[in-house]
Symmetry: C2
DNA sequence: CCTCTCAGTTCCAAAAAGGAACCTTGACAT
DNA sequence: ATGTCAAGGTTCCTTTTTGGAACTGAGAGG
């Protein structure tokens, strides 16, 4: 399966992965959420080669995750900003950061802390239910086919 | 930057990406959460080539995300199961699924629905604060250096 | 024996990534 | 007018990673 076949799969993971399922893309998005916006800044922070960076930024713009907006005329220069669609990736990045904090932090401790403006405390992200607001873990979830399902998606066996 | 340099970065995203930042790995994990466990099953569902699958499974086992457990003797056969560390990736997969459901679902609708056993309803995952339990969006979060920080990680500019 | 299943491994061609140099637009200084 | 600088790319060539398909090995079952 090639990249372009991925986005046609009847699976939300496959479709999302067709946009962000690449190590550089994920690192670029991390930097976007840290307010990095310019080509040279990404390059310096990531240690990515320039043509791969150009390629990934182009793809993210095409996917509607980033917008390429001019920040000066003469010479015309552009920067890359998260769109609303891109901002919606925040939970993905937070979940990734949290897993890294818990399972991959060295003894130096976590590199970054997150403060919740609303309550003023340093917090951990918790996944919760949109209906009852209770915490959700892997074992609390029953997966069922939805309207866009292909029957082959589910593995069969009940949970 | 090569893969093996990634895990040494002082960034939880980089470290997590060194384990799961590959499209096949993410799709393998999706299937793991759908109770797929055997080599042939992964291959059939994913359309991945066999040696890449073998490679990714080996890496996930080495990373402690999956465990290779025998399910029959004579001939000895193994299956791959999520460890607790692997189960902790559930929020990452849920966040990815949800983004795909919202931004990439065709008009057929979402392929899978998730029911919260505790309350019995189909739900969407919401990221919330471990301290006050309130919802958390990108703009609610203030990022600060933690004990394991390198100063270069933050982009500078206040949020 | 012969064939089948599962779980891999091997080999070769094709695609993607790394590295370094080059290009373009315009500002600013000499 | 010539030279240098900065930002944001592009080009070219080499090394790495994938894709695809065939082969291996340990039993089971006829």
């Amino acid at each position: 399966m090639r990249w372009n076949e991925l986005k046609r799969e009847a699976c939300s993971v496959a479709r999302t992965v067709s946009v962000i399922g690449d190590r550089w893309t994920l690192l670029i998005l991390r930097d976007c959420f840290l307010r990095v916006r310019r080509f040279e800044m990404f390059e310096a922070r990531l240690g990515i080669t320039r043509h791969i960076l150009a390629d990934r930024l182009r793809k993210l713009v095409k996917a509607g995750v980033l917008a390429r907006v001019p920040y000066q005329a003469r010479p015309r220069r552009y920067e890359y900003r998260l769109t609303d669609k891109g901002l919606d990736l925040h939970p993905v990045i937070m979940a990734i950061v949290h897993w890294g904090d818990v399972h991959m932090a060295g003894k130096a401790g976590r590199p970054l802390l997150h403060e919740h403006r609303a309550c003023g405390h340093v917090f951990d992200p918790v996944l919760s239910c949109s209906v009852c607001a209770g915490a959700v873990t892997a074992r609390d979830v029953l997966v069922r086919p939805g309207p866009g399902a292909k029957s082959s998606l589910l593995a069969g066996e009940a949970r």
